[in-house]
């Protein structure tokens, strides 16, 4: 059995009466890319800085390759962890050239001068900054500084690479480009990576797995597509993409809301247990609106509904419909060619296989 590269065990941080990070468990395999995703103030940056060793934990441990780095009362300083990190501000040292910035970590590892020069040159080529090696950071654009920061962090071949919202200071186009750049570098070097961001598209584009954090806790850790199709909590369902949350009852193997009854066994993850209230998450893209009642139901629920509002967003129609007798409103996404007027009665088709019960 292989030992995971990085393990967080009940990691906790308390500031005064506020528990910022609340008993987090997480394990990263070697070469894995995991994002910590969540709204601001959810504790993701604090977690990252505890991994780096800048903040001592108040509870739990951090282990690398099975060795304890941080435990309450005794924390290995950051410089002895063999990690590297990319900061929100880039933290490119303005008093050193690009090459000196990138070579700093190698120099500290007491590598021969020639090897430092050779490795710095090579990594600068990888991030396409070779021609700017002798420039000072003040002469570089934001995107170029970002590339220097990447090169500086990667060149030391860290045991773990940490990224703290590295793209939040870039403009939109550049941000998209750098997302793929970060993933490309990861595919090339397979460095175990923890990536902190509040931008779900960024996390989706870069990560093998995403840990969604809320109020100091990890709500769910999963591959990006599973987070979207199989959210486990109300928070994850609402935070990743948009969704409809429906209050329903589970009774006698059926999920009931209003006039609708779905066979519980046909859900993607059939709920266990008997008679109780459940919360359903239904994505706007998983439902279909038709002007006429479809011939075949195929086990899908079909119900009449009234269009109460619509917004045209270019790539899709955004409809708000009210199923007859259900007392709820649902948001449904439809392609541009499916036009329904406000006030019109439509037939809504709901596939139980795309309905998820969330906590």
């Amino acid at each position: 059995m292989s030992v995971p590269r990085l393990v967080l065990n009940g990691l906790t941080k308390v500031y005064g009466r506020l528990t910022v990070v609340d008993a987090i468990d997480l394990a990263l395999e070697e070469g894995e890319f995991v994002s910590l995703l969540g709204p601001s103030g959810c504790g993701k940056t604090t977690t990252l800085r505890m991994i780096a060793g800048f903040i001592p934990p108040d509870g739990g441990t951090i282990e690398i390759d099975g060795r304890v780095l941080s435990a309450p009362g005794s924390v290995l300083p950051p410089e002895r962890r063999g990690m590297s990190m990319i900061f929100q501000s880039y933290a490119i040292w303005p008093n050193m050239t690009v090459a000196e910035n990138v070579g700093f970590g190698l120099e500290l590892r007491k590598l021969p001068r020639a090897e430092v020069r050779q490795r710095v040159g090579a990594i600068l080529e990888v991030v396409r900054m070779g021609h700017l090696a002798d420039r000072y950071p003040a002469e570089l654009s934001g995107g170029q500084q970002q590339r220097v920061a990447l090169a500086r962090a990667i060149v030391v071949e860290p045991s773990v690479l940490l990224l703290d919202e590295p793209l939040s200071n870039l403009d939109a186009n550049l941000r998209e480009e750098m997302r793929f750049e970060i993933r490309r570098l990861h595919d090339a070097f397979r460095i175990t990576t923890v990536y902190v961001t509040h931008d779900q598209a960024e996390a989706m584009a870069t990560s093998d797995r995403i840990a969604v954090m809320n109020a100091g806790r990890i709500e769910q850790v999963d591959a990006p597509h599973r987070l979207y199709t199989r959210p486990r909590t109300r928070f994850v369902a609402g935070f990743i993409g948009r969704t409809n949350l429906i209050e329903a009852r589970l009774a006698d193997g059926e999920i009931v809301f209003g006039p609708v009854a779905l066979a519980a066994a046909r859900l993607a993850t059939p709920p266990q247990g008997g008679d109780r209230a459940v919360l359903l998450s239904v994505r706007p893209q998983s439902m279909v609106l038709r002007a006429a009642r479809p011939e075949e139901a195929n086990g899908h629920a079909v119900l009449p509904a009234e269009v109460t509002r619509r917004v045209y967003l270019g790539e899709t129609w955004d409809y708000l419909v009210r199923p007859r007798g259900a007392g709820i409103e649902l948001r449904v996404s439809a392609p541009p060619n499916q036009v329904h007027e406000v006030g019109q009665t439509v037939w809504l088709t709901l596939d139980p296989g795309q309905v998820v019960v969330v906590d």
Binding site: G66, L76, P77, R80, A91
Partner: protein, 584 residues
């Protein structure tokens, strides 16, 4: 590579238990910064807290027995003469501060908001008044407005044939004038900085409702910066009541006694340090109280309009009135800088200053005397330079360390360190000096008459300047700059050396120069602490002024100014022209 870095071996299958970490493992991971913190507390206690505590204690001690007594207070406030000196100080403070505000506010408004010509000249006047030590200014004004021989009064008598002088500088009004002319830059800098934040739209809004330039200035612009004016007023007031040189040079001949000159008399043989300590208490209370008031006033940000960024700023067109303002600024510049400097320069090259500018009156003898023959002059130059340099170095290093661990929140209660480092700001130099005398002059340390006593007192007195400077410099370096070095394998000290230090070097140099310059002209703190061989230029200058040889005195002032200007010049060259006048 981190093989030796493992903290504790992990038990078979069990989670690590922090309780099993042995003490030496814990100790290995304690950052050395804790030791530094303890050392800094020790240094600050020595430099700031102990002298103040000693001052307070001594004021309640019997001189011979050391027993508790209130006799010192009874003595210090038991004579009408002593109480009058207190009242005189307060009146002097009020009068000087009022005059300084009257001088400075129109200048600040003119430079900040209008199209007045000659703004560069106005800046030069402000900087000149800031650099000119007050006691030199006082000596210059003796040459200008001494009742009998002063140039202005002689000119006046020749012009009118009257026997009475136009203005007698040896008077309460004379002291007020010299202090105001010397300290108006404090008001100017405050008010100008505040006016710079008022957007033109504030004034446009008044104009569009029918207010003219005059009404707008009176009803809008000036009220908006009222807190800044009040802040400047308080600073000048405090400067005036804690100043020693000017009241001593101009007031003692006129038999005008103020707190600082009275304190000086308590230090004449036999030294009554416990009475002086008791007598210094009101000065300390008033200063600390007013600084607190000033902080409160300036903290009301809603009052000062803070829309400076977005709002457009256009200079107000004054038409012919701009020449009136120009005349005002030029007049202040003449009185504060040009005239005193001119008569001092003339006197320094004269055989007899009263004979004025004449070819047969020119001589280099005064400078030759000082540079080559005077037994103390060159010694005092050397003392001044090295005391100031040592004090500046101590203050900057101490301030940098404190600013660093406070800003990076390396220890709990770091703010307490910052508070103590800033505390000397509310302690008048003269009070600080008495505290140092009480604490360290006598055995066991017996530092009286040593260079160390003066250097330490200077370092403590100017620590707030260095701290404000260092804190700003450290704040400007993002902590991630250092963290980036640490995560790549650099220890904290190495990260500070390789990354932080190069980034703050320039700002620190500015702080060092500032402390050096103010220390090199400091009189109030030095005069109580010097021994026969440790006199500084400022002290020697004051001693010489009692002898009344104005030609040599002026030449010595010239040497002092030349040294100061050399360092100001270095600062301007390296750090920009306004490095001394930046607010905050």
């Amino acid at each position: 590579m981190a093989g030796d870095a493992t903290l504790a071996a992990r038990g078979a299958g069990g989670a690590a238990q922090p309780g099993r970490l042995t003490w030496h493992v814990r100790l290995r991971n304690v950052e050395p910064v804790m030791l530094l913190w303890i050392a800094l507390i020790g240094v600050l206690l020595f430099l700031v807290a102990f002298p103040l505590a000693k001052l307070f204690l001594v004021s309640f001690e019997d001189q011979r027995t050391g027993a508790f007594t209130l006799a010192n207070y009874a003595f210090a406030y038991g004579r009408e003469r002593y109480v009058n000196a207190l009242i005189n100080s307060l009146l002097l403070g009020l009068a000087s501060a009022t005059l300084a505000v009257i001088l400075a506010v129109p200048m600040a408004w003119a430079v900040s908001r209008t199209d007045m010509p000659g703004k560069g000249m106005t800046w030069a006047a402000v900087l000149g008044a800031f650099i000119l030590p007050p006691y030199l200014s006082a000596i210059g004004w003796i040459l200008l407005a001494g009742p009998n021989a002063g140039f202005v009064n002689r000119f006046w008598r020749d012009l009118t044939g009257l026997a009475r002088p136009l203005f007698d500088i040896f008077s309460f009004e004379g002291i007020t004038l010299v202090i105001a002319l010397n300290s108006f830059p404090l008001v100017f800098i405050f008010v100008k900085a505040a006016l710079d934040l008022v957007s033109s739209e504030m004034e446009d809004a008044a104009n569009i409702l029918g207010a003219g330039t005059w009404t707008t200035m009176r009803r809008i612009s000036i009220p908006l910066v009222l807190p800044a004016i009040l802040g400047g007023f308080i600073l000048v007031f405090l400067e005036a009541i804690s100043l020693f040189g000017v009241p001593a040079i101009l007031g003692i001949p006129a038999r005008i006694n103020v707190v600082t000159t009275q304190l000086w008399q308590f230090f004449e043989w036999p030294v009554r340090v416990e009475v002086a300590a008791a007598y210094a208490m009101p000065l300390l209370m008033v200063t600390a109280g007013l600084i607190a008031v000033q902080k409160l006033v300036l903290a009301r940000k809603g009052f000062v309009s803070q829309t400076g960024k977005g709002g457009e700023r256009r200079p107000i067109r004054l038409g012919p009135w701009r020449w009136v303002l120009f005349a005002w600024c030029a007049g202040v510049g003449l009185l504060a800088v040009a005239m005193p400097l001119f008569v001092l320069a003339q006197a320094s090259f004269a055989k007899a200053w009263g004979r004025g500018l004449a070819l047969d009156n020119l001589t280099l003898a005064n400078y030759r005397l000082l540079l080559f023959e005077h037994e103390m002059a060159m010694q005092s130059v050397w003392n001044t330079v090295w005391f100031s340099a040592a004090a500046a170095s101590i203050a900057v290093v101490l301030a940098l360390l404190i600013a660093y661990i406070v800003n990076r929140r390396l220890v709990r209660f770091g703010d307490a360190l910052a508070f103590v480092a800033m505390a000397p700001f509310v302690i008048p130099g003269i009070v600080m000096a008495i505290g140092f005398y009480a604490a360290y002059a006598a055995p066991p340390l017996a530092l009286y008459g040593t260079a160390a006593l003066i250097i330490l007192a200077f370092a403590a007195r100017f620590l707030p300047i260095a701290y404000a400077n260092s804190a700003a410099a450290i704040r400007a370096v993002h902590p991630e700059m250092e963290e980036a070095a640490r995560i790549l394998g650099s220890g904290r000290l190495n990260a500070v050396r390789r990354i932080t230090a190069p980034l703050v070097r320039k700002a620190l140099l500015g702080g060092w120069l500032l402390v050096f310059i103010v220390a090199s002209r400091e009189l109030s703190a030095a005069i109580f602490l010097v021994g026969p061989r440790t006199r500084t230029m400022a002290v020697l200058l004051y001693d010489m002024s009692e002898a009344g040889n104005f030609e040599v005195l002026a030449a010595f002032g010239g040497i002092l100014l030349a040294i100061t200007m050399a360092f100001v010049g270095i600062g301007m060259k390296l750090l920009g022209r306004d490095f001394m006048l930046r607010r905050g």
